[in-house]
Symmetry: C2
Subunit: 202 residues, 2 copies
Amino acid sequence: MILAHAIDTASVDGLDGLTIGRLADAAGHSKSGVATLFGSKEQLQLATVAAAREVFVERVIAPARASSDRGLERVCALISAWLAYSDERVFRGGCFFAAASVELDAKPGPVRDAVVAATQSWEDYLTLSIQRAIDAGELPLLDDAAQLTFEVVSFLEAANTRSLLHASIEPYARAATALRSRLLALGGDPGRVSGIVAVAAA
Amino acid sequence: MILAHAIDTASVDGLDGLTIGRLADAAGHSKSGVATLFGSKEQLQLATVAAAREVFVERVIAPARASSDRGLERVCALISAWLAYSDERVFRGGCFFAAASVELDAKPGPVRDAVVAATQSWEDYLTLSIQRAIDAGELPLLDDAAQLTFEVVSFLEAANTRSLLHASIEPYARAATALRSRLLALGGDPGRVSGIVAVAAA
DNA sequence: CCTACCGATCGGTAGG
DNA sequence: CCTACCGATCGGTAGG
């Protein structure tokens, strides 16, 4: 798929750095072929966001859902899956949405709206998973699920950026340490929480 | 200064989004005037990073140094100054370095090196300030200053991006809550820690 | 500091 | 799906 290369390019050069001409060259098509396929650059960007969303679900949400039960176990699985998704460089420039969020945060328009909707969807699912852990009594010292979501995604995205910036895996260890520490402070079961590791065992 | 507009533009469109022609128009000069002034686009980018660094020191480091003693008080002052610097939109696209770090994290070269050096310098100062707080016994449950630095900058940058992305000040309150909670868990004095607020009182 | 210009590349379209 | 082309804009330079 031509969009796989588009996500990869956008994760490095940004969604604005996408050009129809280079995408066409890489795919072995003519420039006008790609241009008419998508209609406009903005529609190409929107298609890229939609494709990245599918990959994210496939690489983070789906594995965590498959390997864990609801509650704190699911929360830890989502965190570990996200760290692996970033660490494995599913996209050359790391997490596509981390890059797109910062690129577009001050640029209103349909593309930003699509990025916001995608990240909102992921964070809503994380908040729901945390709320289920609260409801099950697995995080007895937490009362605001959305607050923990903010803290979790802060660590994940910071680890992603800093790993790329310094060409190091140390930031993933920093994030894992911060998250284990936070979940323990909220009363999380030490055996569960210790399942958060910087590099996937698998 | 022509560079003030360059920082502002780069905080929104990225350092790669800077163009000599538009910068010249905005300053009322000819394109070639700006081109010969900086020599090349890369040197313009490097000059922009250097100018942004000065503004950051002036807006975050200097006020915190002037208003606080070394130790935990200084750490809290740095955090509050950073939140105010982001919240006040010193640059239209929020923190210049948050934007530049993510834009360049997968693009090696002299400009990325300059951004890395600037952020490293800021984080080194934060780590030093935290270490002084540890040495003074003000964070009795913390042993790794660099780990707390990672956690602090994670919250600050996430608040910056999310505030822009959602046009909301709520993320600053999330970051302040997270930071107070973390410093309290590390044994920080409640009176000191409560000085971290989302919106500057001044 | 300017005007004027260079080749390259951009998004998009005409025409088939 | 292609070739060929449009006007606009890019970084950079010649020449003064």
